[in-house]
């Protein structure tokens, strides 16, 4: 259960939003809408703990995420505009680093399966830099299959993906939500995310 109360974020001298409150329960998805520059990314980064909000509380099961620190990080996968991959390393090496830093061990076989189900079976041994944009995105999305985190924060996850990729990601999101996970996402693309509990948040309209 994620609780946001009276959140205010400021970028430079500009107030992006203030008095923002909502809560997100297990098994639900929050779709954040808003024009360019309305603060979607900042909101997502604030929830992830990368940006310090000017005011307000972000609570995970009743405890401040700042205080939870690493315990909250364990529950969270954040994917921003960057892929978060080392381009000189292979997809396998990148994912293994994520796993080791995430504090769990994965077998080579498991990574292989994840990359295969992302449609990257042939790119197993290639450094990420030789892959196309869409393939890089798929490598970074393979984390969602490996890491058991309850909260996914996805900033424009559909960018660079082809039609098959988009529908695959939608499928993964649906499955995660059905399993009792939580997803917060922003997207400018028209995607129908039909899941159990769908919430919408519109930024920049007050």
């Amino acid at each position: 259960m994620l609780n946001i109360a009276n959140l205010e974020c400021v970028r430079g001298d500009r107030q992006l939003f203030s008095g923002l409150s909502f809560s997100l329960e297990e098994g639900s998805l929050l779709h954040v809408h808003g024009a360019n520059g309305s603060g979607k990314t900042t909101l997502l980064r604030a929830i992830a703990g990368l940006v310090l909000p000017e005011d307000g509380e972000i609570e995970w099961h009743g405890k401040s995420t700042r205080k939870l620190g690493e315990d909250f990080n364990r529950e969270l996968i954040y994917m921003g505009h960057h892929y978060g991959l080392k381009f000189e390393l292979t997809g396998y090496e990148n994912l293994r680093i994520f796993a080791q830093l995430g504090g769990f061990d994965i077998t080579e076989r498991k990574v292989e399966m994840a990359l295969k189900s992302m449609g990257l079976a042939r790119c197993f041994e290639l450094p990420v830099k030789v892959l196309s944009q869409g393939q890089k995105k798929r490598v970074s999305l393979a984390r969602l299959l490996l890491q058991r985190s309850r909260l996914w924060i996805l900033d424009e996850p559909f960018v660079a993906l082809d039609v098959a990729g988009v529908s695959m990601l939608l499928e993964m999101i649906k499955e995660h939500v059905a399993d009792g996970g939580m997803v917060i996402l922003t997207t400018h693309q028209e995607v129908d995310v039909e899941v159990g509990k769908l919430q919408h948040l519109h930024l920049g309209e007050h």
Partner: protein
């Protein structure tokens, strides 16, 4: 916890091995700067011997400066740094891992090259040994303190120059005790005092620099 430390060190060393030119530029810079002095000053052995420690040490400072800007910048640009910040591991520990890898890549080669370069200045056996020992104690401090500067200037325009202005003054104590130690040993006074002070600085830097760099990184990424 130590698995994550090992993972970070392994990661950065692998990356360095796939970008060998980056590593080699630092080492060659060091070699060339040190070698320029005998050419410029002339072949008077006494003069060279008296300035050897200072020259090697200043060159080591400049060489370690050169590689500092890359310490966090690549990770910052490709978004892996924010993923490190979000990993469920103590950030200071991961920063420590990165600094250690950075030292192995850019500091350790300087320590190993130093005796060869010292020969050009006619340093005696004792002098060469002391040069290596002071560098071995001092170069990790350069990486540790430099990491704070690199973290603070992350993402700023002209960060490379700024980091020099910020960090070089902090290197002064290391320079004084490092070069001083070699000179004391050459003149037969014994360098224990210098070495223990260098060791003390190293311990202090080991304790505080990762924490300070971690805090600076959090601010820079925001």
């Amino acid at each position: 916890m130590f698995a994550s430390l090992k993972c970070i060190i392994g990661r950065d060393l692998t990356l360095a091995m796939r970008h060998r030119s980056d590593v080699l530029t630092t080492v060659f810079f060091f070699v060339i700067v040190v070698s320029l002095f005998p050419l410029g000053v002339g072949p008077e052995t006494d003069l060279l011997r008296s300035m050897a420690a200072g020259v090697v040490w200043v060159s080591a400072l400049l060489a370690s400066m050169l590689s500092l800007s890359r310490l966090f910048a690549d990770d910052y640009n490709d978004g892996t740094l924010e993923q490190l910040l979000l990993a469920p591991q103590p950030l200071a520990l991961m920063v420590f891992g990165k600094v250690l890898a950075h030292w192995i890549i850019s500091g350790l080669p300087l320590v190993l090259m130093a005796p060869l370069l010292g020969l050009q200045f006619g340093l005696s056996g004792d002098g060469l040994l002391m040069l290596m020992v002071t560098l071995l104690l001092g170069t990790p401090v350069l990486s540790l303190v430099g990491a704070i500067g690199a973290a603070l200037t992350l993402g700023l325009r002209g960060g490379g120059v700024l980091v020099s202005l910020l960090v070089l003054p902090l290197y002064i104590p290391v320079l004084i005790f490092g070069a001083g130690g070699v000179e004391a040993s050459i003149s037969g006074m014994g360098a224990e005092g210098h070495l223990s002070l260098l060791g003390a600085i190293l311990i202090l830097a080991l304790l505080l620099a990762p924490l300070a760099s971690a805090a600076a990184l959090r601010i820079s990424v925001e």
